[in-house]
Symmetry: C2
Subunit: 405 residues, 2 copies
Amino acid sequence: MEFLKAVSSLEALAMINSFRADPAKETIGINDALHRILAEDILSVEDIPPFPRSLVDGFALKVKDIQGAKETTPLFLYVQGEIRIGEAPRVELEDGKCVYLATGAMIPEGADGVVMQEFVRAAGDAIEVTKTLHRGENICFQGEDIAKGAVVLQKGRKLSPFDIGVLSVIGRPIVPVYKLPVAGVISTGDEIVSAEETPPLGKIRDINGHTITNLLKGNGADCSFFGIGKDTVDSIAGKLHLARECDLIILSGGSSKGQRDYMADAITRLGGEILFHGINIKPGKPTIFGKLWGKPVFGLPGHPNSCAMVMMRFVLPLLRKLKGEEGYREKKMAGILSTNIPSTSGVEEYVKVATREADGDCYVSPVFSKSSVISSFVGASGYVIIPEGKDGCEKDERVEVHLFE
Amino acid sequence: MEFLKAVSSLEALAMINSFRADPAKETIGINDALHRILAEDILSVEDIPPFPRSLVDGFALKVKDIQGAKETTPLFLYVQGEIRIGEAPRVELEDGKCVYLATGAMIPEGADGVVMQEFVRAAGDAIEVTKTLHRGENICFQGEDIAKGAVVLQKGRKLSPFDIGVLSVIGRPIVPVYKLPVAGVISTGDEIVSAEETPPLGKIRDINGHTITNLLKGNGADCSFFGIGKDTVDSIAGKLHLARECDLIILSGGSSKGQRDYMADAITRLGGEILFHGINIKPGKPTIFGKLWGKPVFGLPGHPNSCAMVMMRFVLPLLRKLKGEEGYREKKMAGILSTNIPSTSGVEEYVKVATREADGDCYVSPVFSKSSVISSFVGASGYVIIPEGKDGCEKDERVEVHLFE
């Protein structure tokens, strides 16, 4: 009965990803935009650089004027003047002449190369050039970095520090981004008390509320914690009602079958629908996913280990979708198993691992734990996935480590 | 003259790391502590779990009472009652009896195993047990997750969402962390205008101020931007003075030799000391590092590409030290080069790369750019280091990609 709707991990992800996300937009200053998601393609309306610039300290000249110049047979050019950094040249370069300029200064009209100071000898009002140049040498041309009209950053991109530099240089001090999704988090369980309390015998302080909230915050959600519900349909329904304005609701709790039934019943009593109850994964099997008030709602297992793994594998991908993020790439690392890992056939299994670098290779060892244990995360740096059809992994096998972020 | 004090990248890092950091502490609530650095070792003053708990829904019993139980020859136990989740047992388990409990409920005194509901048949006030157990089966013992007195999280650790769960369960709702270091950022250059301005011919909008500020913010600094200084010693000294209360000062600018001299002169005029001027790296050679008012000060190259690389390789490691962070591990990925990369012998070279996964391997291609170009960061996901003594890398060579974070 309980796992009537148990699904594979791929089916679960497909159902989760079928949620239509339509995040609202807002406009913010680029200095508040780090890690926010762009809501529109950004085109440059200017060439960058906006003018041809020198890449070196030296003399701008006409390349044809120094054909054949060598150390032994230097060619003379009259120095027409200097172009200072940040200034527009006042005159066009004349034949047989050159202009001194520093790195970053604008190339004058008529010049098509810059000879570095090192290849020049001073000779009164003139210079001796001891080297030929090819056309365009030591010049960064107008629009060579970013061409006017080019899409420089695409909609759905998570803005990096470099992207913010790009937005500045093209003159976009404010940008359209998606609003942060609001996530509501609820812990449940008669045995759970808050971090501030001294639990009486038989009770234990909340773990999942904190882990979930901080995983969401660290991945760009605006998070509200609505406290700890009791093991009754009424109590859980009351908490869900508090979270009804949220874009995503996450319950956790329910190590026992009875507790899980309260979560599922509370969702359906409020008019919600359970889309699946149970995923063929370990840990994390008793996961509930449904729709309530048109919004996604998860009922995560009470075991902290299971809860955290389901957060990473199933909830954060949905969060990224609700944020409008596109092109996310998980950070993964290849490594060599330093011991066998047994697994249960017929379920997709997640095994937390520690990694150690030696001789340019990465060695991977499992961090085993009972599913109630959260402290095992402290010593692990990621996890390995053992697919449903595979009977464990063997020592010396190459595996892919999914890194915690 | 200019590169009189040029050093190798290892020498530069050694000088940077020789700065003594003594970050101040503060105490904050765990819900504000994500990614903050622990200022003390955290010991648990309690066993976690604080009592033995059942890992399954079933019946707590004395293992000796069901020796030899089988499907065909089940053994009977009288049901003494039920222990509800979150409740302390009122009685001790008697010989020949059992107690019903759900996952997470406390194991009563006298019980040393829990048989899962699946291996039990109801028989009035009693149950038939169809399976033997080993001692301790399906029990998570008191202190098995975290033992009283154990150091659970070490000083210098950057707090993860899982760590915050651990702090909650051991009853540490507030924690000692290091204060965020305050970084002061200054752009310089007569050619630089702010993101909000329309640059007149010959000028360009600031990039580095934004890239530096956001790299620092994303890595846990409290950041102040003091605006854009002109190319005079007076102007730069004035800006430095504004930043005198900061724990770390970062100037950028100076594509030309003249501009770089203004930065170095301003630092020394205010009584500071230049520790090195020039690192044998590419890009990023004209990097200045010094000490001013006892604090570290960097003069970063004006080329945005150089500036960003020096930030990642040399400034962020110092920031982590100033934060009190220990045990940092860079995120790296092994990959196969899909093309040759030439390099300049005698300098340590950083080559930005794009990565592509195919058939379980990661293919790495360089993203070449002139050093003035910031847009090349948009298409790259990390960089490869070519050591000083190595002449480039060859197609199909295995390389290590340092990932942007």
